[in-house]
């Protein structure tokens, strides 16, 4: 066992932890973006709210979710430990600015990561925590006429505050009652400052992953003349362009919609 301890206490071991947690968080981003695209469905949040409910009530996903939270904490903690160690490695700094060519993002992972951490805390307390542990979220009732497949929605007031979800069929109409996270999303994204904060955070995601994704592969030692260029283009196009744009589009679109109303 001490062998493992020694391994993860070594400089390379700590980097390994950073790389593995980082890549795990990257895979989560894909899933998260995929799910959140439901926000763009014009169904008054029906799909999105069901999805939110599913995520918080399906045990395997709950396990993975806790793993994810742990990863975030470990990733941040190790980043902090490594940063402190790295600072100590150069107690007297240079008088001149280091001009050695290196990408801006690679030199500012700590700053980017801190922005992201702040973002995650706010993001999670506003949505995840509010959804799970507070009673701030209102409810909605969706009625789908099974003959015409038309859905209408109205606000719903549950009998007990612990109500989560119910599905029933009456008169060929499917009635789904569920927490209306969508409403909170729409409400939050109508605040301009909030939207700006989100967009900035997505820039941070972009630059963090522009370096982080390929760096994780380097750290793991997975470099190869043939495959490394593929890793680079995935890191650049998927993680630093498509995913941040996808996420940033949500607050922007909702904000624009809110101003249009």
């Amino acid at each position: 066992m001490s062998e493992f301890k020694q391994t993860f206490n070594s400089s390379l071991g700590k980097k390994l932890i950073m790389a593995l947690t980082g890549l795990f968080l990257c895979t989560f981003l894909i899933v998260h973006l995929g799910g959140n695209l439901l926000l763009f469905r014009n169904d008054d949040g029906f799909g999105f709210n069901l999805y939110a409910n599913f995520l918080t009530h399906f045990p395997p996903i709950e396990v993975i979710a806790y793993l994810l939270y742990l990863s975030i904490l470990v990733h941040a903690l190790y980043a902090l430990i490594l940063t402190i160690k790295n600072r100590k490695s150069r107690p007297v700094s240079y008088a001149t600015v280091n001009k050695s060519p290196a990408t801006w993002s690679s030199k500012n992972m700590g700053l980017l990561g801190s922005i992201l951490f702040l973002f995650i805390v706010i993001h999670m307390s506003d949505f995840w925590f509010a959804y799970k542990y507070s009673h701030k979220i209102v409810y909605k009732e969706y009625r789908t006429d099974l003959a015409t497949d038309k859905t209408t929605s109205v606000a719903y007031n549950p009998v007990t505050p612990d109500f989560e979800k119910s599905v029933s069929v009456e008169n060929n109409v499917e009635i789904v009652r569920v927490k209306d996270l969508h409403a909170r999303v729409a409400n939050s994204f109508s605040n301009l400052l909030y939207v700006i904060f989100y967009v900035i955070a997505m820039f941070a995601v972009s630059f963090h992953l522009l370096h982080g994704f390929q760096s994780a592969f380097r750290t793991l030692g997975w470099v190869h003349r043939k495959y490394t260029p593929i890793v680079y283009s995935i890191g650049t196009w998927l993680f630093a362009v498509i995913i941040p744009i996808g996420f940033a589009a949500m607050p922007v679109v909702y904000y624009l919609q809110s101003t249009g109303k």
Binding site: Y94, A95, P101, S215, W222
Partner: protein, 263 residues
Amino acid sequence: MSTGNMNLTLKVWRQKNANIKGAFVTYKAEGISPDMSFLEMLDVVNESLIHKGEEPIHFDHDCREGICGMCSLYINGHPHGPKNAITTCQLHMRTFHDGEIIVIEPWRAAAFPVVKDLAVDRSAFDRIQQAGGFVSVNTGVTVDANEIPIPKVIADEAFNSATCIGCGACVAACKNASAMLFVSAKVTQLGMLPQGQPERYSRVQAMVAQMDAEGFGNCTNTGACEAECPKEIKMTNISRMNNDYFSAKLFREEATHDHAGGE
């Protein structure tokens, strides 16, 4: 034989020894020829200092042809100055322009304490090599050299890693003062060659352990080391080292941490 006509202002870190605080001192370098090497320019300044009875600026240097790895100046924000793939001794004054202000600092790293002025103690590098940067073979082997054929591409790759001169520019350039490029170059050179296989996994563990003990920082893959390395050692060495290290630590039963070197 002409002396030149460049005039420069130097801001040089002066520090009497490891225990006394240092500071920048400004000097004029006058009549500098563009054909001079950077160190020859410092020679000229030093000669004039000696004539004035002032202590010359101390800096490490020896071969002055870019191979011994002794020279080590941090010039205007770059280890070995602004040009790529050369050491300070190969940097010529034609790279600078008349009237330029040049800031000269020692390598900065906890593991490289200042000896005097611009010279630093790089014995940490030696200790890392002593921990495992060798093939345990005694003098007097009887295997004919050609009995170990090595594909040319492998030999060339190993050579590329072996060209490291141990100057420490990688550490100086790295924002984390990490020595991983240096360590990985030796790990990779020996790890690629058949001669280095028997100790491949114990070597990497021993060298990384010593590297950590010396107080170098961690790699964050910024690539500054690769960009500033006078011998253009590639960052892929670091990945190779990581790979060997993780296999050794996590998957190989036989690889122990103890690298005895075999007697």
